[in-house]
């Protein structure tokens, strides 16, 4: 795979639609997650408007839940900086995720690529990676998938806010496992033979060790870095 020259990249409505449709299998899981955030925001006393604005702008599910759950008594400068630091820590994996888009999207103009990256979360990233590896060259696919994910997340905040606990336990319906199930399906798609999978094993072991030793949110980044470095030293 060489860096795609701009002439090979298209930017079409069909690509956008294909990306949005590829996101459909995830929508129940994204909704359950968005409902959970809405419920927590209501319980902690956020207004409906503030909860929706937060979902639309911050757009980082786990970080939103953690910060709202531990909302400071007084919004001092230090408290705000601390919340931003927690957000950055939880989102630090996106530094790695964004880096993988460089070989593909490096030819796009900055005005197109940077808004796109702002909305890039794991599901569209994985769907787009598979699309690219299968020969897809329309970056509008990424935008379509990102947009569908964002709309689902933002529009499920309000129902969660209103309905709250009356929705029942998503755990009972297995909805908490939509993401793991999707991830494993992606792993099957990304399979390139046992040598490449050494990186996955190393990543898992390091992530588990980090989670056991330190708890918190570091484990995704340490596991991903360890797996990536391993991948760099496994020759083809």
């Amino acid at each position: 795979m060489d860096t795609a020259p701009q002439s090979q990249l298209r930017w079409t409505l069909e690509g956008f639609r294909e990306g949005a449709l590829a996101t459909l299998p995830l929508m129940p899981g994204l909704c359950a997650f968005g409902l959970a955030f809405g419920t927590i925001a209501a319980r902690k006393g956020l207004s409906l408007f503030d909860a929706c604005i937060m979902s639309a702008t911050v757009y980082a599910g786990v970080a939103q839940i953690i910060v709202v759950e531990s909302w400071p008594e007084q919004l001092t400068f230090a408290a705000i900086v601390a919340s931003a630091a927690i957000t950055a820590l939880i989102c630090s994996r996106f530094i790695l995720i964004g880096a993988t888009m460089r070989p593909w999207l490096g030819g796009l103009p900055a005005a197109r690529i940077y808004p796109l990256l702002y909305l890039l979360t794991e599901p569209p990233w994985l769907l787009s990676t598979r699309y690219y590896r299968a020969g897809g060259r329309d970056p509008a696919f990424v935008l379509g998938s990102c947009t569908a994910t964002w709309v689902t997340w933002v529009s499920s905040t309000a129902p969660g806010y209103w309905l709250g606990a009356s929705l029942g336990d998503p755990h009972r319906f297995g909805l908490d496992l939509v993401m793991p199930a999707f991830f494993v399906a992606m792993l099957v798609s990304l399979w390139q033979g046992p040598r490449r999978a050494i990186a996955w094993v190393v990543g898992s072991v390091v992530a588990i060790a980090t989670a056991q030793l330190f708890g918190g949110f570091w484990y995704v980044v340490t596991g991903a870095l360890a797996g990536s470095i391993t991948g760099g030293f496994v020759d083809d």
């Binding site: 299998p25 950055a88 460089r102 991830f183 588990i208 391993t230």
Partner: protein, 103 residues
């Protein structure tokens, strides 16, 4: 109550959003300053699988039998039919069934 300080809330949103943007954009921006050689290319290629593995493994370790069964059902379904939707439905249905059975 959170909503007694509109200005503070706006500052909080701005600070959190800035942190998210720096993370989402930073890696891409940083790589633009390097030539991507074969080793770095292989590292980038290994990242999607490594992120999935390191996100999922700790959840499975503590998530009990229903999590394992769900992931197994999703993986086997994906190998058999190569369809994301079928895989997710199989995984979630398996988890719901396992929990209904008290596993």
């Amino acid at each position: 109550m959170i909503d007694n300080d509109p200005l503070g809330f706006a500052a909080m949103l701005a600070a959190m959003t800035a942190a998210v943007i720096v993370c989402r954009v930073g890696g891409y921006w940083l790589l633009g300053r390097f030539a991507i050689g074969p080793r770095l290319r292989r590292m980038l290629d290994a990242l999607p699988g490594a992120v999935i593995a390191s996100t999922t493994a700790p959840i499975l370790l503590t998530g009990g039998l229903s999590g394992w069964l769900a992931v197994l059902a999703a993986g086997v379904t994906m190998m058999a039919v190569r369809n994301d939707f079928a895989a997710v439905v199989a995984g979630v249905a398996m988890a719901a069934a396992a929990r209904a059975a008290g596993l």
